[in-house]
Amino acid sequence: MAEASEVAQPGGSDGPADLPKAELPKLYRAMVLARVVDERCLTLQRQGRIGFYVPLQGQEAAQVGSAWALDPEDWIFPAYRELAVALVRGVPVKLLLDQFIGNSGDVLKGRQMPNHYGYREFRFVTASSPVGTQISQAVGAAMAARWKGEEIVTVTYFGDGTTSSNDFHAGLNFAGVFKAPTIFFCQNNQWAISLPRERQTHSETLAIKATAYGFPGVVVDGTDVHAVFAAVRAARARALAGEGPTLIEAQVYRLGPHSTSDDPRRYRTDAELAKWKEKDPIARLKHELLTASVWTEEEDATLWETTRKEVVAAFESAEATPPVDPLTMFDDVFAERPAGLELQRASFAELLKDGGLKP
């Protein structure tokens, strides 16, 4: 991996269900990169340099392990917390930071809140805020891919709370009926903002919900990259063999707040947090790497240090990127601007010239 702020793509779909030992440091690097970006962004938000941020700490193994099991051609339909997935996909950190700022480097043209990014180039579909809507979309895309004869799967990420959404139900039901090559990857991080998993639904597990749609659901330890990788690998093989979808419940914990607007101390205990901190997926993988002698403490220290520097540099570069051009506000509503919108744009342009508008 030449630069820490870009992650090498995983090897492709025809590998075994076991992660080769030699590849493990790569996964670890991706997880560290995600953690560093995360820590940095929490700080930047406090400093008012980005407006908002959704952290993923605690979910790195689930995200990196699952993304690693995919083919680069597979389509990802994420929610808003899938930073590590994006990194594994190869999205450069600078590009993500441009989105967080909403500057002219942002592929989304500054239109969305931080974390709601998406990159066609990386087959990582632009996220929205309403939870669950991506789920039925992922099923439709999988049906389309099959119709076009393309050997890919679609993977959709969502949280425990999102299992209650309309489109969870519709999406999984459609997938069951049409045997869509879709993987439903649920990161059960135990909380939907302040609602704990047990009060979100009374089912024994989330994975068991797949029974209602006639396909398998599996529970994996989401702090274990191996388990996650294997589960996704198996689900992918199943999907491509025409056997239909799989629901995977990766059990993890959101170590941080729901978002920078949230204060988790209002609704959960320090003890619970402490218990889960012991299962921090990064510490866990590091320990494994050290034990397997494919990694040293020295390498580790260097990795964190260089990664931090690179992320700082990427942010500096993003911050120096010029703001988005105000007139772009009127683009992309439609392929072409209809007459009415053209008039609104013209009057906006005039106001802009007159100084009647401030950023």
Partner: protein, 325 residues
């Protein structure tokens, strides 16, 4: 040229588009073997198979969500909502997703889904098989809203919709699905969006309408003509994009406007038309704008014919504007 009803013209338009482009497909409830509850998809399942004419489970959010996924992937899905009254379970997918995908992705993800759905009263459908919710969608930036009123337009506007790069809500006036028939050119035929049709010329008063209200307006215009009043009937065809120029040109000519639609009046589409006139045709207007619309109640069953705008009410309103200024 073939003489077709509106529903036949739609069926023809679908079949021809599917023949011409393998990426076009149809999905919805009962659209397959059954051919649609109004028979709009009759024969398609047989010709194109179950993979392209997809009978879905009973979930509108699933239908629209799946259609969005297909469109993102590059297909051209046409989703049928059995009655537009049942579109609300999919409202989130339409308003939050379909309408905003291109914008929110910075143009990376166009989302060309066509949603077809029968709308409006006239079949004794009561509250839930009669509604005209076009204003909700017209207010949703990013959606196009199309409503044909003739068989030829039904086919041509549908064809345009299928090839349009943007999401289109295509509302079909079920009241005149079979009541109106007319000559429809064979083969591919498109009508551009944003171009209203003058259904009748006249210099004294403009009737602004669309869909099933066009025949009603024409009937009112006949009555008015008998007493020497020449009404111009403008068929908007596409509510979004709106042919504002045509609206203004007609009202600037006549100086009087009666807006007609089936939906309740309050915040209905007619409000936007009246607002445009109040802003941009203010100095041409000779009399207050009139709206002849459904009442601000849910759509009733037994009293449907008293609820729906009829020719008498339109004539009455036209006479009121003529008397006013």
């Amino acid at each position: 040229m073939t003489e077709l009803t509106i529903v036949q013209a739609i069926n023809r338009g679908l079949a021809e588009a599917m023949r011409a482009d393998p990426d076009v497909l149809v999905l919805g409830e009962d659209v397959g073997v059954n051919g649609g509850v109004f028979r709009a998809t009759e024969g398609l399942h047989k010709e194109f198979g179950a993979d392209r004419v997809i009978d879905t489970p009973l979930s509108e959010t699933g239908i629209v969500g799946a259609a969005i996924g297909m469109a993102l992937y590059g297909l051209k899905p046409i989703a049928e909502i059995q009655f537009v009254d049942f579109i609300y379970p999919a409202f989130d997918q339409i308003v939050s997703e379909l309408a905003k995908f291109r914008y929110r992705s910075g143009g990376q993800y166009p989302c060309h889904v066509v949603i077809r759905s029968p709308y409006g009263g006239g079949i004794k459908g009561g509250l839930y098989h009669s509604q005209s919710p076009e204003a909700y969608f017209a207010h949703t930036s990013g959606l196009k809203v199309v409503i044909p009123s003739t068989p030829a337009d039904a086919k041509a506007l549908l064809t345009t919709a299928i090839h349009d790069p943007d999401p289109v809500l295509f509302l079909e006036p079920k009241r005149i699905y079979r009541a109106v028939s007319g000559e429809v050119p064979d083969g591919e035929l498109r009508v551009p969006f944003g171009v209203a049709r003058t259904a009748r010329e006249g210099a004294d008063v403009t009737l602004l309408a669309y869909g099933a209200m066009i025949p009603t307006c024409l009937q009112a215009a006949e009555t008015l003509a008998a007493s020497g009043v020449q009404a111009e009937v403008l068929d908007l065809r596409t509510l979004v994009p709106l042919d504002e120029a045509a609206v203004l040109a007609s009202v600037e000519k006549t100086g009087r406007a009666v807006i007609v639609h089936e939906a309740p009046r309050f915040c209905g589409f007619g409000a936007e038309l009246a607002a445009i006139l109040a802003e941009k045709a203010f100095f041409s207007l000779k009399a207050p704008v009139q709206r002849v619309t459904g009442y601000d109640t849910p759509f009733p069953y037994a009293l449907e014919n008293m609820y729906l705008p009829n020719a008498e009410r339109i004539v009455h309103a036209a006479r009121a504007t003529l008397a006013a200024g």
